[in-house]
Amino acid sequence: MSVVHHDPSTLPVDDNVNPYTFCVELAGSQWFLQKGKMIAYYGAIEFNGIGHGRLDRLVRTSFHSPLHASDWVVAEGSGKMLLADRAFDVNSFDLEDGNLTVRSGNLLAFQPSLSLKQSIVPGFLTLIGTGKFVAASNGPVVFMEPPLRVDPQALVGWADCPSPCHHYDHGYMTGVLGGLRALTGLGGASGEEHQFEFVGAGTVLLQSSEALLPEQPAGGTPHEPGVPGGGAHGAPGAPPGAPRLPGQLGDLQRRFGL
């Protein structure tokens, strides 16, 4: 394979440069991206952390939930910017007046015309509206139509499916032999006892491997009765063992709003 040389004029516009890199063109427009996902840029682009200040209004219109806005950066200006995430496959998706729910760790960047909300399902984020977003996955993304049952680790997200629910398979655990198996542990488990089930009209997004991308904190939920995951798990910090990007101080950073 030969090395492909790019300059500002040959870089694609809002498209993949290779399976692992995505190029965004900014012309006075704005993009939201997760901290640390920009690998290079041409032109005059400003990266502003969002929190308080002149970007307040933008944050208010695009982030409709008490998300950790401090994990996001606004890129503003004109030029071309390359996005990548630890050599995972990167893909862009267009939403047209639609909704899509994606695992929080997989979302890299999105246009401010979309609004980002926390999903009721913990650990997932929902994008609503019209616009483009960029997501990473381990291996290419495969689109499937329900009815479908998906291994929890292979699920990237879903669009328009109203019914993500749990499904348990343990047929082989029933009966006398199955009871013996469950009691003694002999024979082991298939590792496929639990899936997410989708029915109805919509699309399910799968990645080609069971290796997960480290989860990004999707923000806490209000401590209210009836809210799933309503603060019961304590601080929704990054899971231990997840690689932290250089320059990120994690919880400490978030606490001080850096």
Binding site: G188, G191, E192, E210
Partner: protein
């Protein structure tokens, strides 16, 4: 014949069709998604055959946990982000390490092969160098096999009079009527630590094909 078995969806994912009365074996935990009524049962014996085959596999360290996939529907398989290569067998025998097996059709006959049987002591040395150990798994018959590899896989045909040399670390599997031997190109340079790093090669001759991965990393 059994070509319906596996369909490659992308380089890292395969789709398998299961029909009533048919069985698939797959590595445990390698199912990504399925449609229809399909059951996944952990396979105590780690594959086919009776208890003796199971003991054989245990001893040979070729007892990668497998599960039986039955029912009717389609199943997607993928594992660990490895590249997947589908190999279709038409009556011949595939030699592959058990931990590289992602899934295979139940029509194939699974066995354990002692590498010393192919070339005696040199066969054992060869197994050590190529990371196969003293034993490897064989699959025989008609049907499809999905094999995992690090990086993409290329198939190199072997024809009589045209032997193929393969880096032992990049070797994935081979099938057909193939004899292999370890060829060494050790010289004085290797002795003084100035070797090329390619002192050991697998030489495969006969007729068949060898699968080589684009990486020297083992799974």
């Amino acid at each position: 014949m059994c070509d319906v078995g596996f369909r490659e969806i992308n380089p890292k994912m395969v789709e398998a069709t299961v029909a009533p009365g048919e069985r698939l074996f797959s590595q445990r935990g390698a199912m990504l998604a399925y449609r229809g009524e399909v059951s996944f049962t952990p396979n105590l014996r780690g594959g086919q055959g009776g208890v003796m085959s199971m003991i054989g596999r245990r001893v040979a360290n070729e007892d990668t946990p497998l599960m039986t996939v039955e029912g009717s529907g389609t199943v997607l398989f993928g594992h660990g982000g490895h590249h997947v290569q589908v190999i279709r067998l038409a009556g011949d025998t595939l030699y592959v390490e058990a931990d590289r097996l992602l899934a295979f059709e139940g029509t194939l006959e699974q066995g354990t092969v002692f590498l010393g049987a192919q070339g005696g002591v040199m066969g054992m040395v060869r197994g050590q160098v190529s990371g196969q150990g003293l034993f490897t798994t064989s699959l025989k018959g008609h049907g499809g096999v999905a094999v995992m590899a690090h990086g993409g896989v290329i198939e190199v045909p072997i024809s009589p009079g045209r032997p193929v040399h393969v880096d032992p670390q990049a070797y994935v599997a081979h099938h057909g009527d193939v004899r292999n031997k370890l060829s060494t190109a050790l010289g004085w340079r290797d002795m003084v630590g100035r070797g090329s790093g390619e002192a050991f090669q697998l030489e495969l001759s006969g007729s068949g094909a060898v699968y080589v991965q684009a990486s020297e990393e083992k799974l």
